[in-house]
Assembly symmetry: C2
Homo-oligomer: 492 residues x 2
Amino acid sequence: MGNELTTRAADYSQWYNELVLKGGLADHSAVRGCMVIKPYGYALWENMRDVLDKMFKDTGHVNAYFPLFVPKSFLEKEEGHAEGFAKECAVVTHYRLKNDPSQKGKLIVDPEAKLEEELIVRPTSEAIIWNAYKDWIKSYRDLPLLINQWANVVRWEMRTRLFLRTAEFLWQEGHTAHATSEEAIVEAEKMLQVYADFVENYMALPVIKGRKTPTERFAGALETYCIEALMQDGKALQAGTSHFLGQNFAKAFDVKYLTKENKQEFVWATSWGVSTRLIGALVMAHSDDEGLVLPPRIAPLQVVIVPIYKGPEQKALVDEKVNVIIASLKSSGVTVKYDDSENQRPGWKFAEYELKGVPVRIAIGQKDIENGVVEIARRDTKEKKSVPAEGVSDYIINLLEEIQQNLYNRALAHRDNHITEVNSWDEFKSMLTEKGGFISAHWDGTAETEEKIKEETKATIRCIPLNNAAQDGSCVYSGKPSTQRVLFALAY
Amino acid sequence: MGNELTTRAADYSQWYNELVLKGGLADHSAVRGCMVIKPYGYALWENMRDVLDKMFKDTGHVNAYFPLFVPKSFLEKEEGHAEGFAKECAVVTHYRLKNDPSQKGKLIVDPEAKLEEELIVRPTSEAIIWNAYKDWIKSYRDLPLLINQWANVVRWEMRTRLFLRTAEFLWQEGHTAHATSEEAIVEAEKMLQVYADFVENYMALPVIKGRKTPTERFAGALETYCIEALMQDGKALQAGTSHFLGQNFAKAFDVKYLTKENKQEFVWATSWGVSTRLIGALVMAHSDDEGLVLPPRIAPLQVVIVPIYKGPEQKALVDEKVNVIIASLKSSGVTVKYDDSENQRPGWKFAEYELKGVPVRIAIGQKDIENGVVEIARRDTKEKKSVPAEGVSDYIINLLEEIQQNLYNRALAHRDNHITEVNSWDEFKSMLTEKGGFISAHWDGTAETEEKIKEETKATIRCIPLNNAAQDGSCVYSGKPSTQRVLFALAY
C-alpha cells in the first residue's frame, strides 16, 4: 500500500519523518528549512490554536498584530536578546527586483533599492512590540497590558526537522506589561499553568513544570519557566516557555509609567509562547508503528464510518443505519466522516484511517445490521468490539473520553517510569544511554558543570522542577555540595 | 476630550486617518508602511475572518500553510506574474548578523552568510503553492484541490495608508486546481459570490460584481472578477478579487494530471483573496463625524451598558437590573460589556463608545429603575428611546438586526444615487468631479482609451458588471463604437 512505516524500534527518527509525511501533516518545501503544513496538519493546528486562544481570552488577554519586520537597530537595543538571535536571522536588505539586462526573463536585485536600515524577519517580537508599548503605556491606568499575537516567525536553523525545528514556524507569543515585578512573575507562572493544562488535558501529554538554568534561559529573560514532556524514545521535548523579562525591555525601549504616587517607573514584562513544534511532540508522544494516534479532543476527525457491502441494495440498508448514527453524533458535536467512496476497499480504508490516527472507526455491514450491532475499533488499543447499534452514539461519546484518558495515562506511566534518580557519574551515563528519560541528579549549580555534562553526554538540564524538594547532596559530576536535584535529559 | 475628529466635510482623508487611530483600530509602526493592528481592530478582523472561514469550509475548502519565502527563480517562472510583483518585493539576501567589529553593541549583516538564491517575502503565493501542487497532483482523483491560506503578505508600496494600503497586510488566499477550464471558471465565480455575500450580509456594504479589463487584471490571470463598493466620498474601493488563471501556473510549474482517459493534461487554476483592506472599506462606508459605526454582525462589542448613579446604594440597584439584562443578552449570544469603571463620567463613556462604533448603548439610572425602563441609544441614527426593562433583551436583539439592515440600506441608497449614466466627455468630467461615484459610460474596449481617460481624470474602469446589458453606443472618449457601458470611478 505504500503506507508502511519504518518501525519505531528500527529507527525512531526515520519513523517520525515518514509518519509526518505519510500521515499528511506536512511536507518539505522548496525553501530550505521551511515546511508546508498540509490540510490535515493545519486542521490539527487550528483545533489546538482555538483551544489555546480561548484559554488566553478567558485569562484576560486580547489579540493584536505587529509587523513582520524588526529594524536591525531595535534588535541591538537589548544586548542579551541581540546575542541570542543575531546568528539566525533572515535579513531583508532590498525592496525591489528588476529585469536582468543580461538575461531575458530573469530578475535581479535592484541595487538602487537598498534599504537604509536592514530589516530582520522577526525571530520573536519583543523588540518591535516594546517599541509600540512605549506609545501605549503612559500611566498605571494603562497596566496591565495583556496582549497575545498569533504569527509566523523565522529562525535560520542549520538543521531542520518537520515541526520540531523549522526555519519558519507558526506560534503565539504573549507580551504583557505590568506595574510591579510581583505581578509580572504571577503572570509568567499563570501562563505556564495554562500551557500545562492545555498540553495535559487536550494533547494528553503529562508535563513537568520547572525553571530553566541561567544558561538555558530565553535571550533577555531574568527567569524562564518551561514545561517539559517525554517522548517515547526517552528524549525530552520543551513544549512551552514563559519568561519573566524584568525591566530589560522597558529599559531598552524606555517604557515608563506614571505611578499612582505620580512617579515615573519602568514597566515589568513577560513573554510566553508555544508553536507548531507541539505537533511534533504530539506525534512522537502517542503514535505507533501503524501511524498517528491523535487525542480525541483535538483530532481533526474523531470518528470515521466505513460501510461493508455487496451491491446497491446492501449499500442502501447500510446508508440508512449510518445516517441515523451520523445525525446523532453530529448533534453531540462529534466530528464524523462517512467514507463510502468506491475507489478503495474497506481494508485499504482501515489502514488509511489508522495511519491518520482517527480515534474511533465504525464498520457496518449486512451481518451487523441483521444482528443489530456495529463494529467499533479504537485506535489507541486497536481493540475491536461489536456494540448494539441502539444507543451507539452515547457509547462513542464515552469511548472518546476513555481514549483521551487512556492516552494520557499511558504517557504518564511511560514518563513516570523514566524519571530515574542517580547518585554517581557512572550511573548517570549508563542510565542516560541504556534507559533514557529524565535523570534526576544533584548539580552544583554552576554553568561550568552544566556545560561539561553537556559536552560529555549531550544531556542538558531540562529544568529545575517548580516546588522542588530541598535535599542536601553532592553534585553527580563535580562532587561539590548541592541543595537539590535537577532533571537532565537528552532533548529535541 | 482629545477624541474630536476632523469632520468628513472638512477633510475626508484626514477624518479617516484620525478615526483609525483614535478608534483604536491600528497604529503606525516604526517599520515604513507597516501597521500595528491594535486589539480592537484585530477583534474586528477575527470576527470577519471567522465568518469567511466558515463560508470557505461550507463550500468545500480546507486550510493549509505554505512558506513565507518565495525563491526568486520561482517568481520568474510565470512571466506576467513576475512583471506584476518584481517592483514591490522585500528581498532576503542574508541569513545572519554578526557583531560590528568597529562598534561595540552594534550588529552588521554577515557578508559570509549570503544566500545562494535570494528569497522574496511572498507578495502572493501562487508560485510557492503551485510548486507544491506539482507533487500533490498526479491524477484526476486528486482534483479538484480546494485550498485556502490565512497569511501575511508584503508588497513594498511607496505610499501607504492604514488598512487601505500597507506594506504588510493580512489576508486569505484561495488556490484551487481543477481538471477543466469550465470547472475553474465556476469556482472563480462561486468565490466572487461568497465574497459578495460576506460583504453585503456582514459588512452591510452593497457591492457591484464584475470583471476587470485586461489592463486591471491580476498579474498572471486570464480573467479577474471583482466586487466594487462605494465609499461615502464617492470613491470606489475594490473589496475582493477572484481570478481565473487558466493553465498559466500549471505550465510554469509543470503541473499535469492523468485524465480518466489516461492522458496527461495541464491543470486549470483559480486564486482569490480578501485582506485587512476590508477594514478600511468598513470604516469609510459607515462611520460618521463622531466615530466608527460598526455593523452588529461583526462588531467586536454589540452592546455597552453605562450605569448612572450617585452613591453605592443606587449603584447596587442598577447593578441588580443590569445583571439580569446581561445574563439574558449573553444567553442569546449577544456580546455585551458593563462599563461601571469609576475613572470616567457617563458623558465621557458615551462619547468613547460612539467613537468605537458600538451599535447599541444602554444607560440605566435611578429614575429609569423607578419607571421600569432603560434608555437605549442606537449608534447608526443616534436615536435615544426609553424602553420597558421587561423584555429588553428581545428588543435589543431585534434592534441589532434593524441596525444591520439600516446600515445596508443607507449604503445602498448612497451607492444607487451615485451611479450616473453619462454620454459625453464633458459630462463625464463634470460628473466625476462634481458628483463622484460610479460613472456608467460607453467605452471602445481599447487599453489606449482606458489609459488616456486615466491620465486625464485619474478615473479607472472599476469593472464591467456581470450580466451587463448589451447596448450599442459610442465611446465617451474616442467616439468609436461600443457594445456596452462600463463603470468608471476614482478609486482607493
